[in-house]
Subunit: 287 residues, 4 copies
């Protein structure tokens, strides 16, 4: 294994001056990462049922979310926990997103599933546990689909950019980085959300950077203030867990927002976004 | 030594429901922590000379800072580093603050110096290295002066609140907490600034919370975006290092803002503050 | 994603009382993990050539190593670093091990390569970056081969045991855990080797536990004292990087022992092992 | 505040080549740190009563401990926890140590108490929370008494050596470093005991290094294996918490050994010490 030493020169394709004007990643449905309008990805942690997903998609789309998130294949610490609905969930995501004018981002865990997931989703998510799953990075890089690359549990910014480099060198220019908190000694929050990574990355790379305050804090009441903090620091988008009834969620209920909480967040988010020269997407469909 | 177990009940005086309406800490010069107007503490890392300090005070006061910061007694990792100008610096701080309508906050390192520092300053700072210096906490608690309590290098939020409890139980109600980043594995920044501590503390305690993005990042270009993030997350104030010429600073030049950078920050800070229902102090004196 | 809560009950198959007498994992060549005789796994970080590998195997076997380690597929932070010789290296490992009476352990990175690697190796290694690569765990669990499961970069002991549970629930009882250091704030060593994990795991699980002081410190001169510390704490084996000429190694030269250093370590290791009622394997072949 | 940059040259007095033969610190009663015979410091976390202390001193002295430890002034996270018996406990420590042929080490928390503590103890302990309490370091450095300097909660080895430099530059050559674990993300143990710091420090400095596995793990059953590991790695001594009846201890009962456990440890410790060319002190007094 190796240690990075001369890093400013190590990520040849990801580094800022390889594309000084910055990269804008666009999804087919119109969502953009890196432009004036931020991207708002929202939805449940896990896809649990068609009803749950459609209700959530309707609610978040009507408040400005333009990308539907939801787990079909779930990485679970325990083999005895709910592992996701798999391929069936991919179809539900596609249907719910199409019905509400949204794009789909969902996680892929296995290099053998890349083609399957890419057949339904508009954007592939590489999760924190797989940031250095190099086989998966290579397959995702060759898939032709935009990739959302989450930061590893205790990845340095340098290691994260080198993981992005694996995707870029495979010929895929459409990479978005997602800060989701790192391991820390204080268990008051699930992770320690490193908001400073946003402006730091903007100085080091041309790739867009979004923030996931749901995993970044693990506590629903902290999600909105941290989403606003992320936007104030220049984030190019948000990834938010929303559930019709968080206490009964199959996973991550503690950090999921209700529809009402999400609505309140979106109106405050637009004010902050405009204060830094950005804006939240207009609600896609009245419902 | 002990381990905290049932913490919600452990900090009897600091806990939120001991004063649900929240504490507002006011300094003689008018600065307030915890009200609609945020507090802006700014100045050099170390007091180096009367000229350096006056120039900085004039510059930051004219842009809205209402508390002058500056180190007289410096905690230095090496015994061979500059240790501060001591008592002489305390007088300079008082003069410069009075000349520009500001209050003074400065660090006290030794319980035997509390009376000396309290004789010149409006607010005593307890630094990160001394968050659990219980002798110092007791003396500062009994001094009658407001105290700015910085978070320890790797202190949990619970330990930090218990340190505040030492101050409160000594009879001092005027305590302000200052998040300044914690130790992490990634050396791309000096510390990892834990912005989520702001809303978390607001739910746990009635004490005001400010943020120090200078030590929290250690990188000048990250200071402004992180100051804005802190305000968006609800911070009650900022602590910012400003120097007339950062490259020649006796300490912390890498993280100090120039006068121009500070001015640019203040105008952006006011926009963000207003977006969350707060405001930055009006410039105290035209210069 | 999920948070572990009631962990003593969460790892049903890995927990100590599921097999109070402890598990002994035996490889075809005779090496055992968990018995009175410890296992000594040694060899280069990367397989670089037939000559390098044979010379190393001869040297380490003659000093008591009974398992040959060597990377065929290398997980590298940078896509531009040497990625290993792949399938060709697997053959070399098999030949060199057979020639010197050793078993083979080597890392598998991709679930699609499990059958290939299992066709040549006696034991599959799951590396730190893949501890929560659940697809890979499932394939390795079903391979029928013993598995060496390294601790993740910042994995808690609970998460590590849950990863082992994925292997066990797939029907594979022959799992060995390998402590290799965790991320820390001090960059004086590459990782922080958590020797206390050895006795802690011995109380929580029936699975054998070995220690990798090479990755655990990243500094050659610390490898031997930490190997001895691991044995004193009850480790069931060691994993040591050895190279004919460390300064010219394709990877990890800084932490590799020379043949002479390995020989010196083995004689000291036997003394410590006997002091705690264990022993180092006898040298397999006189050379 | 400052960042260390050119560290190998920063600790002029502590660095290895300032005294290549190594420092041996001797206490009046004969205990030595850094020689062939290791130092064994043992006793209760807190001095609770004359009976408790005498019984413990008798027990540990009869098994080879030559330094009595016990807290008179206790640093407690909560102001509502037991704070120690203070000056009264200092007298008890002196009496109990004299009665059993031991030396005394005890913690000093306040620079104003240095003379008082030095009047009773043979060695001053600077605790983890005070490693960078520079006022206290200066007073302790000038006291003429040997100092046991514990590593800070999240101190790098460099910062620790710079704290030792404060003691050395004050004219005190008799400094012993004590590794006691650092903060980590895994709460299965109280701290993460960094055994690799022992050989690392031996290469960087001429000062002796001992290990405290009681605070280093916080779990009684892990104390003995980690004490053995420390000796195997070359530690110059041990600091162990022992209590007549751990469940009723005023502090730290979870990590205290019983007399029987301490006796078992000492006989195993002597075997490991001899395996690395050292030895445990002979029992001072038959009882």
């Amino acid at each position: 294994m190796d240690r990075l030493t001369s890093l400013p020169h190590a990520y040849k394709l990801a580094r800022r001056d390889a594309r000084p004007e910055g990269t804008i990643v666009r999804l087919p449905g119109g969502a953009g990462f890196g432009g004036e309008e931020i991207a708002v990805c929202a939805g449940p942690c896990s896809v649990e049922s068609r009803e749950q997903l459609n209700a959530t998609a309707a609610a978040v789309a009507s408040r400005g979310a333009n990308v539907l998130r939801g787990g079909a294949f779930k990485p679970r610490t325990s083999p005895y926990s709910f592992q996701g609905l798999g391929a069936e969930a991919l179809k539900m995501l596609r249907e719910a997103a199409d019905a509400h004018g949204m794009s789909v981002v969902t996680e892929v865990l296995d290099p053998r599933d890349v083609a399957l997931v890419a057949g339904h989703a508009d954007m592939l998510q590489i999760g924190a546990r797989n940031m250095q799953n190099f086989s998966l990075l290579r397959e995702a890089g060759e898939s032709g689909k935009p990739v959302l690359l989450k930061r590893g549990m205790s990845a340095t910014v340098d290691e994260w950019l080198m993981a992005a480099e694996y995707l870029l060198v495979a010929g895929n220019p459409n990479i978005v980085l997602c800060e989701r908190g790192v391991r820390s000694f204080d268990k008051a929050t699930r992770n320690l959300l490193d908001i400073a990574a946003v402006p730091l990355l903007h100085s080091l790379t041309h790739l867009p950077v979004i923030v996931d305050p749901s995993h970044g804090t693990g506590v629903a009441k902290l999600v909105s203030p941290m989403a606003l903090a992320a936007l104030a620091a220049g984030a190019d988008g948000l990834l938010i867990e929303v559930h019709p009834h968080p206490p009964s969620a199959a996973s991550d209920g503690q950090q999921s927002l209700t529809f009402e909480q999400f609505e309140a967040l979106m109106s405050r988010a637009d004010v902050i976004a405009r204060a830094v020269g950005r804006r939240v997407p207009a609600a896609s469909l009245a419902t």
